[in-house]
């Protein structure tokens, strides 16, 4: 159905409110994805004997998740009450689930990263170093096991809102976000590890970049009206930049990634930048779609009209006797009215029109 060009609003004001989140949140979306992918690369490198890629992955994960925590706490209205997040476990709240995912992820990533930091020190720290060395692999593997959830839950965090451009993307956004995480962390691996060790990072980067381009395109097709928010203004520029950087990074990885250290580093940087643009673009598009009442009103109005039309068609297509009695029931509930508060006619209307707010013309 072609969206109505015209719609009604209250002085053009927004119906739903944009999230009161600053750039901390899209930065976290990027860094969280980078951390998750880096943990996976680090664990894989650990098991496959690639020490430099392992170190890069573990340190990248530690750095990214630490910055993420700072961003998340900073964005709270009351940062000092951060620990209140741990009061409850609520599957209906993606932020609560995310808190517990990060709680499960953090210690392992922290130990693995700390072990790499300790090894970089010019001196050993005695028993601490030995403990860290011992715990590094279990920690890294534990973090890698939770990492995919770290990368994908953030999509649910955005889509479980009334923000049109986020909610409408709920089918594909988790796939876009994990692809973006794979591209960013693959890029980070290419940037930090020598060519000989970076093979898995290159493959991760290319797979992630291609998947992101394909799924993001599909997402725009399935979103409906709010996909326009991904094409206009600042979010439009960010999404455009994301596509160019991601495609260029993937191409560079295929052509130069295995041969030239500079080419690999540039491609990796492009992929990381592309991932960041995706996160900021999706984030900003959501805010814009919430500020414009068109994205809220037009699809809901169309849904309501379709349901009314379907209800009318149901009534019309029923046998003539049944139709007559149904319409009698409807008009009885509206016009003449049974006894006060009689639930019968109201129930009849609800059955006929589903969710429609009762309206008789």
């Amino acid at each position: 159905m072609v969206p109505d060009a015209e719609f009604t609003s209250y002085y053009g004001r927004n119906v739903v409110k944009p999230a009161p989140w600053a750039h901390d949140i899209p930065a976290y979306l990027f860094l969280g994805g980078l951390a998750a992918g880096s943990s996976l690369l680090g664990a894989g490198a650990d098991l496959s004997g690639r020490p430099v890629l392992r170190r890069a992955g573990r340190l990248g994960a530690l750095g990214a998740i630490s910055l993420s925590m700072v961003a998340l706490v900073h964005d709270l209205g009351r940062p000092s009450r951060f620990l209140n997040m741990l009061r409850v476990i609520k599957p209906t709240s993606p932020m609560s689930v995310g808190t517990w995912i990060l709680t499960a992820y953090g210690p392992g990533a922290g130990v693995a990263g700390a072990a790499e930091l300790a090894r970089l020190m010019p001196f050993r720290l005695g028993v601490i170093s030995r403990l860290l060395d011992f715990a590094a692999r279990p920690g890294g593997l534990a973090a890698a096991a939770v990492a995919p959830a770290v990368a994908s839950y953030t999509a649910v965090l955005l889509t479980d809102t009334a923000t049109p451009a986020w909610h409408d993307a709920h089918r594909e956004l988790p796939f876009v976000f994990v692809s973006s995480a794979a591209a960013a962390s693959g890029g980070f691996g290419m940037l930090t590890a020598p060519l000989a060790e970076a093979g898995p990072a290159r493959r991760m980067a290319v797979v992630g970049a291609l998947a992101e381009l394909v799924v993001e395109h599909r997402m725009e097709q399935s979103m409906g009206l709010s996909a326009e928010a991904l094409h206009e203004g600042k979010p439009g520029k960010l999404m455009q930049a994301s596509k160019v950087l991601t495609a260029a990074g993937a191409l560079g990885t295929v052509l130069l990634g295995g041969r030239s250290r500079t080419g690999a580093a540039l491609s990796g940087a492009a992929l990381m930048a592309g991932s960041a643009c995706t996160r900021f673009g999706v984030f900003e598009a959501g805010l814009e779609s919430a500020k414009d009442p068109r994205y809220t009103v037009v699809p809901q109005r169309e849904r309501l009209n379709r349901r009314r039309a379907a209800a009318a068609a149901d009534t019309a297509s029923a046998g003539s006797a049944a139709a007559a009695s149904a319409s009698q029931a409807n008009s009885a509930s509206a016009a003449s009215g049974g006894p006060p508060g009689s639930p019968q006619p109201t129930a009849a209307v609800h059955t006929n029109v589903g969710h429609t707010n009762e309206e008789i013309r």
């Binding site: 609003s9 209250y10 009061r87």
Partner: protein
């Protein structure tokens, strides 16, 4: 509409978890309080806001701010009729909307004799303003003009399936024994998640200088939880001079609203309709509902809101599949021989 589309009648993984029973089906006669774990709660309380008799005096806004100690949030001329409040927010828990329309008062059907129980007194002083009165009030054809003012006092809907409450990660937002939704201000850490979750754009995080009451945390109408606790009427309903805002048991208010709608329809106001009261709507029915004289979006309401968590099972499923995909990709890229 199929269950697949609506997402309401799907069986969910967490139907049996505490506080989420029947999360999206919502036709319990006892209202949402028993679902939230209250044993033998009092009857569900709510508002019926009959906009057809709202006179736009804003006494509700003032009473609300005064009783609840809601701070001032800007004195601006907004250029939107008499509405200089703007919208509901952290420091605006009642908001009176003013809509000026080039439509005649009352019905466009002519020839219907209109009788209403409470006729408005004729205006005593002519201020040169566009004539208006109670919709459908008697007065003869001369006093009718091709202009009408719609006024409506908006408030938190206290949904049966409340998205703000669902997504709150601290448990600060909770379901009271009266079936209402209230922020516990000593627990909220200001994450702001409830703000984009609300399909009506009601709740917001309070901004202001350091030291402002409850700055940084989410705030909205509590349906005067403190007053309900001592059997008092919420401040706005108490202050409303026309009983446009009616407070009471939701069941009884629904009956009252249906009767009022019949009266208006019988009086020729065919455009009158109820908004939010239907227990089968996208939020399982609201505890605060409205009688409107035009489409919801004219007043700034969403025409057909659906609680966002209705789609949450599918979202988690997709996120799970995406996570498995990432793990599989990671395993795959390390498979194969080293060069």
């Amino acid at each position: 509409m199929s269950p697949q589309q609506s997402g309401f009648s799907e069986t969910n993984l967490w139907d049996n978890l505490p506080g989420t029973k029947n999360g999206f089906s919502s036709t319990d006669p006892g209202g949402p309080a028993p679902d939230a774990g209250w044993e033998a709660p009092p009857s569900r309380k709510g508002f019926f806001t009959d906009t057809s008799i709202c006179i736009g005096c804003k006494a509700c806004e003032v009473a609300c701010k005064t009783w609840n100690g809601v701070p001032e949030d800007g004195l601006d001329m907004l250029g939107s009729s008499y509405d200089n409040t703007g919208a509901l927010g952290a420091s605006t828990w009642r908001h009176v909307a003013f809509i000026e329309q080039r439509k005649p008062l009352g019905s466009q059907d002519t020839g219907v004799t209109i009788t209403l129980p409470e006729p408005a007194p004729p205006p005593q002083v002519d201020l040169g303003m566009p004539a208006f009165g109670l919709p459908g009030a008697p007065g003869g054809g001369d006093e009718r003009s091709e202009f009408r003012w719609l006024m409506s006092s908006d408030v938190c809907k206290h949904c049966t399936n409340a998205a703000c409450l669902d997504v709150c990660p601290t448990g600060s937002l909770f379901r009271t024994e009266f079936g209402t939704v209230v922020v516990q201000e000593d627990i909220c850490n200001g994450c702001g998640y409830c703000v984009p979750a609300c399909p009506y754009g009601v709740i917001d995080r309070r901004i202001g200088e350091q030291g402002t009451k409850n700055v940084g945390i989410a705030q909205k109408c509590t349906l005067c939880y403190d007053r309900l606790g001592v059997d008092e009427t919420p401040a706005c309903a108490k202050a409303c001079p026309t009983q446009s805002i009616q407070f009471g048991d939701v069941d009884e208010l629904r009956e009252r609203a249906a009767k009022r709608l019949e009266t208006l329809h019988a009086g020729g106001l065919g455009e009158a309709r109820l908004y939010g009261e239907d227990p089968n709507n996208g939020v399982g029915g609201t505890g605060a509902f409205f009688l409107l004289l035009d489409e919801p979006e004219v007043y700034g309401f969403p025409p057909d809101p659906i609680v966002t968590t209705a789609d949450l099972p599918r979202m988690w499923k997709n996120a799970g599949m995406a996570a498995v995909g990432l793990l599989a990709a990671a395993v795959t890229v390390f498979a194969g021989r080293r060069p």
